[in-house]
């Protein structure tokens, strides 16, 4: 885990109270280790003139010894001999940053351009010396701009709403072909009430003649004869049950017909006491 805000504050040479050298060393060394950059990238900025101007004599001596003893002198030998810490220690920070900036910009754009370039160079030349060229791509390509339409009028995004002033035939019909009702007629006007009654008092609307409700159908023959009780409001059977049936006064005579033999002569009966005097004499 990195140390946040607790590192040494050095770099008084160029950058102020920050450890620029350590940052440069880590950045450039990791770029070389990871293959993000090659020593040629470093030597393109840290040129021999720069080294001559800023590298101390002891380091120059070491470099000369290494070059004299090597079969091949290349950028890798120079960088490895000097060492990245020494390089970053003596080379101006601006030069080192230019190198890092080139590497970073190329790393950002390398996905698009450097791969094809490297593949093309490898296919033709084979395993040659490591080299890479900066790609002049400082910023990612901008997104494709949306060109305005040639027609001028913007495309309709939402539902098509007719203009308020439309009076043509297409405005009078809805989608199903029925005549469109203006929205104002869908609701009762606010002037309903007394005002409306007063206004229409002189012009009474024709009213339909009231017809008596049809008698309720009944399966009983008595109901069919017209003696059926009339149910008030003619709606429910409960109303009929609650009503007292007083109609059909002559019907009870028919249902309780008595023969003459069944009649009792109350005055001739012995068991019948009709007055108090007769009762006392018997006792």
């Amino acid at each position: 885990m990195h140390r946040c805000g607790c590192g040494p504050r050095r770099g008084e040479q160029d950058g102020g109270p920050v450890n620029l050298k350590g940052f440069f060393v880590a950045t450039l060394q990791s770029a070389l280790d990871l293959g993000i950059a090659v020593p040629d990238d470093v030597l393109r900025h840290v040129t021999p003139d720069v080294l001559a101007a800023h590298l101390p004599r002891p380091l120059w001596a070491r470099l000369l010894i290494a070059c004299l003893g090597a079969a091949r002198v290349d950028a890798q030998l120079v960088v490895e001999t000097i060492g990245m810490p020494n390089l970053c220690e003596h080379v101006p920070a601006k030069i080192l940053w230019d190198c890092i900036e080139e590497i970073g910009v190329r790393a950002l754009g390398g996905v698009v351009f450097a791969t094809a370039t490297a593949a093309a160079s490898r296919s033709g030349a084979g395993p040659g010396p490591q080299s890479s060229r900066p790609i002049p791509l400082s910023t990612p390509p901008p997104p494709p701009a949306v060109e305005p339409r040639a027609g001028g009028a913007p495309a309709a995004v939402g539902p098509s709403i007719p203009t308020p002033g439309a009076t043509g035939a297409e405005a009078e019909l809805d989608a199903s072909g029925r005549p469109r009702v203006p929205p104002g007629q869908r609701f009762r006007a606010s002037t309903t009430g007394i005002g409306r009654l007063a206004a229409s008092s002189s012009q009474r609307r024709p009213q339909a003649q009231a017809t008596p409700p049809a008698p309720p159908l009944s399966a009983e023959p008595q109901a069919a004869s017209g003696n059926a009780p009339r149910v008030k409001r003619g709606q429910t059977e409960a109303d009929f049950d609650l009503e007292t049936y007083v109609g059909g006064k002559d019907d009870w005579k028919n249902t309780l017909a008595v023969e003459d033999e069944q009649l009792v002569d109350w005055s001739a009966s012995d068991e019948t006491v009709t007055n108090g005097d007769e009762l006392g004499r018997k006792r």
Partner: protein, 101 residues
């Protein structure tokens, strides 16, 4: 260069920048804004950031970067964002001729 190499390099540069005080965690979050983090970090990492902040009682740039390490920054965030952070720090240090906002 492969994407893994580029990613590892950006992680190392970010780590080195923080170690060497080239930029502070607040500088990182000035470029890796909450919108950028929310758009690119995976849900589990966002959950970790929030959980760590809830446990500590506050969310600071330092605490965010304790969870979202440079490796994770380089893994999930666009490298252009990281590069803007690096370039801006270099501009502040006076070594970058290009002024990066």
């Amino acid at each position: 260069m492969s994407n893994d190499q580029r990613q590892a390099w950006f992680a190392r540069v970010m780590e080195s920048g923080l170690e060497n005080d080239i930029f502070a965690p607040s500088d990182v979050l000035a470029h890796a804004t909450p919108d950028v983090l929310a758009s690119h970090l995976p849900p589990e990492l966002l959950s970790k950031v929030l959980a760590a902040s809830l446990a500590a009682g506050s969310m600071t740039p330092e605490r965010v970067l304790e969870t979202v390490t440079p490796e994770l920054l380089a893994k999930h965030l666009p490298h252009e964002v990281l590069w803007q952070c690096i370039a801006a720090a270099a501009a502040r240090a006076g070594v970058n001729k290009t002024v990066v906002p």
